[in-house]
């Protein structure tokens, strides 16, 4: 079921899930800090961000998604946008960076929102130097969010070379942040019939995510939106329809799908406050197509 934007302004909040768990759907209303197009708590001082993937086409639907993001931003001030890859399709000349990235997201960029990119399978490595992608010249990197004790681990999933995996383990081990969130392109779980789950990558990455208490994983590649049923208490999302779309591509009988949306483009907005992460998935037309709350994983006691 989708919530129409008219309902969104009712400022619905959520009940909390059990630790490590996830609930979808709405719960009793709770006052928000300001009028919003999202159903997130919108607490003062929380970490607010968006997730976008497979977007850089330069075509009208990308611009429409970007315009919807700008509308949401008016009431929900996300500090950052994490990009799960395939940031530019086709040519990557300076004019393409402008047409496929700088122009559509200009309102957000002008407002000081910082974008952090992962590289997808169609992205040139030179993107790692591009200042507005904030990759610091690296193919994989981590960064600490401005608040709420959150660290993002951004991976180059096309080249999961041993150096990168060793780096990831070291970074995860050394991270003191309560929230550990992984961001990369190829989904470990996906019900997209075009690509689906990358099982080989899963065998490499998931043991580290489990061991070091990664709570959430954002990916793309399949041009759909999908929230995966929690796997090992980890919340997995596929957000690969920020500009591209494969209509009807979700396997309707997949066991993985908690919620899927493959009839239009979509992006995510997310809020972390304390131990909870609330999220909305929003379509190109402003419909909230999914929502819920994730409770962060905590180190298991021996």
């Amino acid at each position: 079921m989708t919530l129409r934007r008219s309902l969104v302004t009712l400022c619905v909040a959520f009940s909390l899930a059990a630790p490590g768990g996830l609930v979808g759907g709405a719960a009793p209303a709770k006052p928000a800090a300001s009028k919003s197009l999202v159903t997130l708590p919108n607490h003062h001082g929380s970490l607010k961000f968006a997730v976008l993937g497979d977007f850089g086409t330069g075509d009208p639907p990308e611009y429409e998604v970007a315009a919807e993001m700008a509308k949401v931003f008016a009431g929900f001030k996300m500090a950052i946008v994490v990009l799960v890859g395939d940031n530019l399709y086709g040519a990557e000349r300076p004019q393409d960076f402008k047409r496929k990235f700088e122009d559509p997201y200009k309102p957000l960029l002008d407002a000081g929102v910082k974008f952090y990119a992962a590289l997808g399978n169609h992205d040139a490595r030179a993107q790692r130097n591009y200042k507005l992608f904030n990759m610091g010249g690296k193919l994989y990197y981590s960064f600490k969010a401005p608040n709420e004790g959150v660290r993002f681990f951004v991976l180059d999933s096309t080249y999961p070379v041993p150096e990168q995996i060793a780096w990831l383990e070291k970074e995860l081990k050394g991270s003191n942040e309560a929230w550990k969130i992984a961001v990369f392109h190829h989904p470990l779980y996906s019900s997209g019939t075009r690509h689906g789950s990358d099982v080989r990558l899963r065998e490499t990455l998931e043991p580290l995510f489990i061991k070091y208490n990664v709570s959430v994983v954002f990916t793309g590649h399949d041009h759909i939106y999908e929230r995966i049923k929690p796997q090992h208490d980890i919340a997995y999302f596929v957000a690969g329809s920020g500009g591209q779309l494969r209509p009807g591509n979700i396997d309707k009988v997949s066991d993985y799908t908690a919620k899927g949306f493959d009839t239009d483009r979509a992006f995510m907005v997310v809020e972390i406050a304390g131990d909870t992460m609330s999220f909305n998935a929003i379509s190109r037309l402003g419909e909230i197509v999914d929502s819920g709350v994730v409770v962060r994983r905590k180190p298991s006691t021996p």
Binding site: G90, E92, R93, P94, A124, N129, Y130, V161, E203, T204
Partner: protein
């Protein structure tokens, strides 16, 4: 080779091992040249614009073209190396994931674009997918270089300059 579980591949023959060794030697020699040429250029600012990245790539490309003015197809993918590549790709593509791997390569694969050694990767041509099974089976490359497919050709790309160093024709069966 990668952090992924190793791909199933037949053992290489002595002749193939020699071809692979020569390929890696050529790659290492090229890296030395690239390092020397890059050192002559002004450093990119810490947070460059797209224009600055493009300008740097083009300047580096000019230096590479000048330094390798006689470059021609087959300098990295010599005939024996092409045979190794064909054999490796053939095995991966005829394996249990073969059809899926091939489909992902051809997904947004630019097809029959014209490409030339020592020239920039064509601006209008999308970058193809390089499936992990393929990358796990091919010789590992340093970060400055990467493989891509253009149609049925495997190209060796300098990612710092966006220059095509070499390509192997027809390594993917249609």
């Amino acid at each position: 080779m990668t952090g992924l579980p190793a791909a199933e591949a037949s053992p290489v023959s002595p002749a193939e091992a020699h071809a692979l060794e020569e390929f890696q030697e050529d790659v290492q020699k090229y890296l030395v040249l690239l390092g020397k040429l890059e050192a002559t250029l002004p450093k990119l600012p810490k947070k460059p614009t797209a224009e600055q990245i493009d300008g740097n790539q083009r300047a580096l490309g000019d230096l590479i073209r000048s330094a390798r003015s006689h470059a021609k197809p087959g300098e990295f993918f010599a005939p024996k190396m092409q045979a190794v590549v064909k054999r490796i790709l053939g095995e991966v593509l005829s394996g249990p994931d073969g059809a899926e791997v091939k489909a992902s390569i051809m997904d947004e694969n630019p097809g029959v674009a014209s490409i030339t050694v020592n020239e920039r990767y064509p601006a209008s041509v999308p970058l193809s997918t390089m499936p992990p099974q393929i990358l796990a089976a091919l010789p590992k490359l340093p970060q400055a270089l990467e493989y891509r497919f253009v149609g049925t050709r495997l190209i060796l790309l300098d990612t710092h300059a966006d220059i095509i160093l070499d390509f192997a024709e027809g390594v993917l069966a249609r």
